[in-house]
Amino acid sequence: GQQVMQIPQYQHVQEGEDFTTYCNSSTTLSNIQWYKQRPGGHPVFLIQLVKSGEVKKQKRLTFQFGEAKKNSSLHITATQTTDVGTYFCAGRGLTGGGNKLTFGTGTQLKVEL
C-alpha cells in the first residue's frame, strides 16, 4: 500500500533559525496536504498542493510539491515559538482509496529561545 515518510522525525532549533521537513511518497500523488498539530491538540489543515512543481507561500511558510508528484517539503523561515508542533504531510493517491488521505510519519518541531 501507499506509504508516506517524513524526515527528520524530530528537529530542535533556536528561535530565528530556519526549519525544513521533507515528505516522500512511495507512489505518485494526485495532491498533497500539510497539517500542523500543536502539542495536545488535533491536526489543523494548512494547505493543499496539486500541480507538479507547485510552490505556495503562507507568510513565513513555503510549501513545495515535487516535479514527479512524489515528494514535498515545508520550509519555515525564522522560526518562532508559535511554530512548535508536529507537521504532517498527507497524500492522496492517483487511483483507488477514494478520498482517503495517507498521513506521513510527521516531523516534531521544538523551538528554543
Partner: protein, 113 residues
Amino acid sequence: EAGVTQSPTHLIKTRGQQATLRCSPISGHTSVYWYQQALGLGLQFLLWYDEGEERNRGNFPPRFSGRQFPNYSSELNVNALELEDSALYLCASRFDPGPAGYTFGSGTRLTVV
C-alpha cells in the same frame, strides 16, 4: 459554525470490553473519516463514511467497525479491546466536492487497562 465534535473526550475501558466513540461533522459535510493516533505516532486511517455508506477501511481488524447515520454523524465501535488500542481517535469531516482539507475534531483519548 460549530466544528467537528467528538464524544467522549476521554474513555477508560478494560481489556476485552467494547468502546463506542461518536462524531458529529460540520453541518453540511457528508464525509466522515476516522483515524487512530497512538502516542507519539502518526495518523493511521481507519474508516471513511460518505452518505451513510462505508467507502473505505484501513488495515485494521474487523473488531474495528462503525456506521454513519442519516444526519451524517458517525460512530466508531471497537470490540474486544486490547491494550494496544489505547490511542487518540480522531474524526474528521469534509464536504465532497468542496474545500480540500479535513477538519478534525479534538479526538477521544481511549485508554485500555
